[in-house]
Amino acid sequence: MLASNWARKLTVCVTRNAHAKRLVVGSLILLLSLTAFAQTGRERTLPQPAKLFLRKGWTIQSSAQINEKGDVISANKFRPRSWYPATVPSTVVGALVDDKVYPDPLAGKNLRLIPGCSYPIGANFSNLPMPEDSPFRVSWWYRTQFQLPASYHGKNVWLNFEGINFRANIWLNGQQIATSDQIAALFASMN
């Protein structure tokens, strides 16, 4: 079978006997595999793709507080001094609440104490621009570091974002690997 870029269609017919009742499974049209490309004639267990989640050890900071650009920020030697610790997934305000920068927004009217929350009560804020003095009117950086496990060496390595709200520039080791034109939306799995 040839996988030039995207799959070909294959047709396979299968007949099978099941106990007393005869069950025929016919016209099984398949467009590639449920498992993976297997080595011919060799049994092997179903490969379970090992995902390595990047959840811990992130730091975040407002772009208004940083003079450097992505190439410097995504270099190993950059030191994120006075950045805020974060776990991922988390929104910016969510991380800052975890860091005790802001009080628990679910208690009383604490939400209104967070800067940038001056929109009229009852208004649909999503249809309004953020106030001029909002610290969230600008982009925020998320930064982390990781090492590949030995099992990844010599293989294709994939970085997956299951949802970013709302746009993002993505940098790895000083190199921009995706732009905010490409990375937009919440529920798209950006493989």
């Binding site: 079978m1 996988a3 294959l10 299968v14 069950l23 499974v25 016209s27 099984l28 049209i29 398949l30 467009l31 590639l32 595999s33 449920l34 490309f37 297997a38 011919t40 995902k51 989640f53 990047l54 959840r55 992505g70 995504s74 190993n76 950059f78 997934p89 929104t91 910016v92 969510g94 940038g116 649909n124 999503s126 249809n127 621009p129 969230f136 950086w141 998320y142 930064r143 982390t144 990781f146 090492q147 099992s151 990844y152 294709n156 970085l159 997956n160 299951e162 970013i164 709200n165 709302f166 520039n169 993505i170 790895l172 080791n173 190199q175 905010s180 937009a184 919440l186 950006m190 493989n191």
Partner: protein
């Protein structure tokens, strides 16, 4: 996204993501009056981030669609769909190996 060229196998890697908040008109996660929106409009890395490794070809999004002959229900017609992606610059040949309802199917 395929980061094979940018990632370093035996050294530390640094990932930096510059996130922009949704603007009016963006189809983002929004709230109504029963749950007031936080001032960042939920800006951030909202769902999981993970690494995965693969060989030259990946198979993903498998789906099986079932149709029965009515009224007998004697036959089931199954259509299996999946997406194969070739991460290399050249053609790759191999064998597709499918296990479905106790059956094993292979196709060169």
């Amino acid at each position: 996204m395929n980061i094979s060229k940018a990632v370093r196998a035996r050294e530390l890697n640094t990932l930096a993501v510059e996130v922009f908040p949704p603007e009016p008109g963006d189809l983002a996660w929004t709230w109504v009056d029963w749950n007031p929106m936080p001032p960042d409009k939920n800006m951030g890395i909202f769902r999981e981030v993970y690494l995965a490794s693969s060989g030259p070809v990946t198979v993903r999004y498998p789906q099986v669609v079932t149709h029965f002959d009515l009224p007998s229900l004697e036959k089931a017609h199954l259509t299996v769909n999946a997406e194969a992606h070739n991460a290399t610059d050249t053609d790759v040949s191999g064998t597709v190996d499918v296990r479905l309802a106790g059956m094993r199917l292979t196709q060169e």
